[in-house]
């Protein structure tokens, strides 16, 4: 995937370096492993975005593997809970890929996915507190992500804040 992004952003990289002097040292330093990653839109997966990318990657693996094991071994126990964990895993996967690829389009995808994630975790959190009989087994999003140190509710908020900031920088770079 790194090679792909190289093809996307090679021209932008040279331009970005000339246009945004404050970014230049960082761009030069990061240029060796991933020269393209510094092009305007790709920045959603850089800096703080890279930390988010790491967390979303971990959660993708955790939620998907958990739901796959549960669905394949004891699906009838708690169908809704396991399907919700699967849905959560898919949303995490979408955000991970979007952060990895970068660009304006990926930023929009990530914004939608983070919003869906926030709605999901709040909705499921309220439901599990109000009517716990609907969820005989835990999901990733139960009780606002209590089982995962509340990261499921913290991550989308951080994600939305970061995407908004990165979007402003992106527009700034395009306008310059």
């Amino acid at each position: 995937m790194a090679e792909e992004s190289t093809a996307d952003g090679t021209e932008d990289t040279a331009m970005a370096r000339q246009q945004t002097p404050p970014q230049a040292p960082a761009a030069a330093e990061a240029a060796a492993p991933a020269p393209a990653a510094q092009s305007g839109g790709a920045r959603i997966g850089q800096g703080p975005g890279r930390l988010l990318l790491w967390f979303y990657g971990v959660f993708t693996v955790a939620a998907l593997s958990r739901s796959i094991v549960q669905i394949s071994t004891k699906f009838s126990d708690a169908r809704l809970a396991y399907l919700l964990s699967l849905a959560a895993g898919i949303v995490y996967a979408v955000i991970t890929v979007a952060l990895w690829r970068g660009g304006g389009q990926a930023r929009k995808v990530a914004l939608v996915a983070c919003s869906a994630e926030l709605l999901g975790v709040i909705g499921v959190g309220v439901l599990t507190l109000a009517d716990s009989s609907a969820f005989p087994d835990q999901t990733v999003w139960s009780d606002f992500g209590y089982g995962y140190v509340f990261l499921p509710v913290i991550l989308p908020v951080m994600g939305l804040l970061w995407l908004r900031k990165a979007g402003a920088e992106l527009r700034g770079a395009e306008a310059a």
Binding site: A26, E29, A30, P33, A34, A37, Q46, G47, P48, R50, L51, L53, W54, F55, G57, V58, V61, S65, V69, T73, V149
Partner: protein, 122 residues
């Protein structure tokens, strides 16, 4: 034996997390010493993977599912190397933060591993 390794991995992972969190706080990327630290933690996790598999081979069974247990063992062994790769691609304080997060994630995985293996087993 497994308990001893689990404690070792947990403690070294948390030390790594604190160390790298300090680097992130000081606005520094990960350096060679951090990577040696990551190698140590990874080595401990690999030893744990081997010990866990040997215990399974000897007929011991985890309380909460063999597949889950092996999944967590493999996940624990992969966590810090993946964080290391990510911090190589992010040469800023955020690269250090990734390794710090990786150390905490590994410690949580160790806690879960301990639960899955069960108190009844050695």
């Amino acid at each position: 034996m497994l308990d001893a390794v689990t404690i070792t991995v947990t403690v070294t992972a948390l030390l790594l997390a604190v160390w790298c969190a300090y680097a992130a706080y000081r606005d520094e990327p990960t350096n060679d010493w951090h990577f040696i630290g990551m190698a140590v933690v990874t080595l401990a996790a690999l030893v744990q993977l081997v010990v866990g598999l040997v215990q399974l081979g000897q007929g011991d069974r985890p309380d909460h599912g063999t597949a889950t247990f092996v999944g967590y063992l493999v996940g624990a062994a992969c966590t810090v190397p993946l964080a290391a790769i990510m911090s190589l691609t992010e040469r800023s304080r955020w690269g250090s933060a990734i390794v710090a997060a990786g150390g905490v994630v590994l410690a949580v995985l160790e806690l879960r591993l301990h639960e899955i293996w069960g108190a009844g087993n050695g």
